[in-house]
């Protein structure tokens, strides 16, 4: 009986081995990872720090130019969002500003510069077409807005307009 046991095992192993081998080779599988990184929905906050001030006294031959990069009278805005997030900004290249005290309009052609810190002199031009930018590591981005306006055909009065800036994460 002691002789029989090893023989029994050997037979069963011999019988089972080819089938086990085939079963192991029957299928090939692999796994891939599906993933997504989600960030807090803190949204984007745009804070107007300073309005653009157009003084007719600045006009040269009826034309006023406020440099977004150099003039202190340029408007300034600060964006608060997700640190290092990329975003897209669009704005209208021009706007007609109505005379709030009479007839007539002024046409203002915007100029916008932007930078990751409060440094107007280092800011870079941003086109009116969609432009991809990146928020700084401290969650901020700054915009300076200037523009050109021709006052030669303007009538006396007060002109007030709004600047619409559209921002979205990408």
């Amino acid at each position: 009986m002691n002789v029989l046991k090893p023989i029994q095992y050997l037979f069963f192993i011999l019988l089972a081995f080819p089938f086990l081998t085939m079963m192991a080779q029957n299928k090939t599988s692999v796994s891939i990872t599906a993933q997504a990184t989600v960030i807090d929905n803190s949204g984007i906050e745009l804070v107007t720090i300073k309005n653009m001030d157009i003084d007719v006294g600045m006009a040269i031959d009826g034309k006023i130019y406020v440099s977004a990069k150099r003039d202190a009278s340029a408007a300034m805005m600060m964006l608060k969002g997700k640190a290092n997030a990329k975003f897209r900004v669009t704005f209208p290249p021009m706007v007609k500003i109505a005379n709030s005290t009479g007839t007539g309009t002024l046409t203002l052609y915007y100029e916008m510069y932007g930078y990751q810190s409060d440094n107007q002199g280092a800011s870079e031009p941003i086109d009116a077409v969609e432009r991809n930018l990146q928020i700084s590591s401290d969650s901020k981005y700054y915009f300076w807005v200037g523009g050109r306006v021709d006052t030669n055909n303007a009538r006396p009065g007060n002109y007030n307009g709004e600047f619409t800036l559209q921002i979205e994460y990408i």
Binding site: M1, V3, L4, I7, Q8, F11, L14, L15, M22, Q25, N26, K27, T28, S29, V30, S31, I32, T33, A34, Q35, A36, T37, V38, I39, D40, N41, K82, A85, K86, Y169, I170
Partner: protein, 201 residues
């Protein structure tokens, strides 16, 4: 004792012969040479929704990774060209981050078996499996099988000295994530999609 031993050995030997005889009458190609199927991940094995939409916000809209988008999971399947393969995809219902979950609304896959020279080229000829299907059977190389418009001859069983022709097909895995719940915690959500390939029986 000696007598008993002789009987049992005889019985086992008979059983073995019987099994071999029966098995020899049935050729199952699903069992043949399946070990030569090789699956390879091409883009670090990821279906990455952030490559389609870099910023995915809690409460944000669903993110669709389509076949031609960035972020698609890409694999190659190398195997015999004279046999069909069956691909089965098993995807989780959600991507998870601890106890937080985002629905993996849809997982789709497509294959390209036109001998494409690259994954980009393969995408352009890929055949998308309709929604809801998790399995598909197709030849590794469609260009060989359909040359004369006639059914292909039966595959040659493996034998000594024979090497079957092999080819490469591409698999693409993509789908839809979300909508992301508004209260979803920030962080990396992951899930494992299992892909099984075998020779069609």
């Amino acid at each position: 004792m000696k007598q008993t031993t002789r009987h049992i050995i005889l019985l086992l030997t008979f059983s073995l012969l019987l099994a071999v005889t029966v098995a020899a009458q049935r050729i199952s190609f699903g069992l043949y040479a399946a070990d030569d199927i090789v699956l390879t991940q091409l883009n670090s094995g990821e279906l990455n929704f952030n490559l389609k939409q870099a910023v995915i916000l809690a409460g944000g809209d669903p993110v669709n990774v389509n076949l031609l988008d960035d972020g698609v999971g890409i694999l190659t399947v190398k195997g015999r060209t004279d046999m069909d393969i069956t691909v089965t995809i098993d995807a989780p219902a959600t991507l998870d981050l601890g106890s937080n979950h985002i629905l993996l609304t849809k997982v789709k896959f497509a294959y390209s078996n036109t001998k494409a020279s690259s994954d980009d080229a393969a995408k352009l000829t890929a055949i998308e499996i309709p929604d809801g299907f998790t399995s598909a059977t197709f030849p590794i190389d469609r260009t060989i099988r359909h040359i004369a418009g006639l059914p292909a001859p039966p595959p040659t069983p493996n034998h000594v000295g024979y090497t079957a022709l092999t080819g490469i097909a591409y698999l693409f895995v993509y789908g839809t994530l979300g909508k992301v719940p508004s209260g979803a915690a920030a962080g990396l959500y992951t899930g494992t999609i299992n892909i099984r390939v075998e020779y069609a029986k």
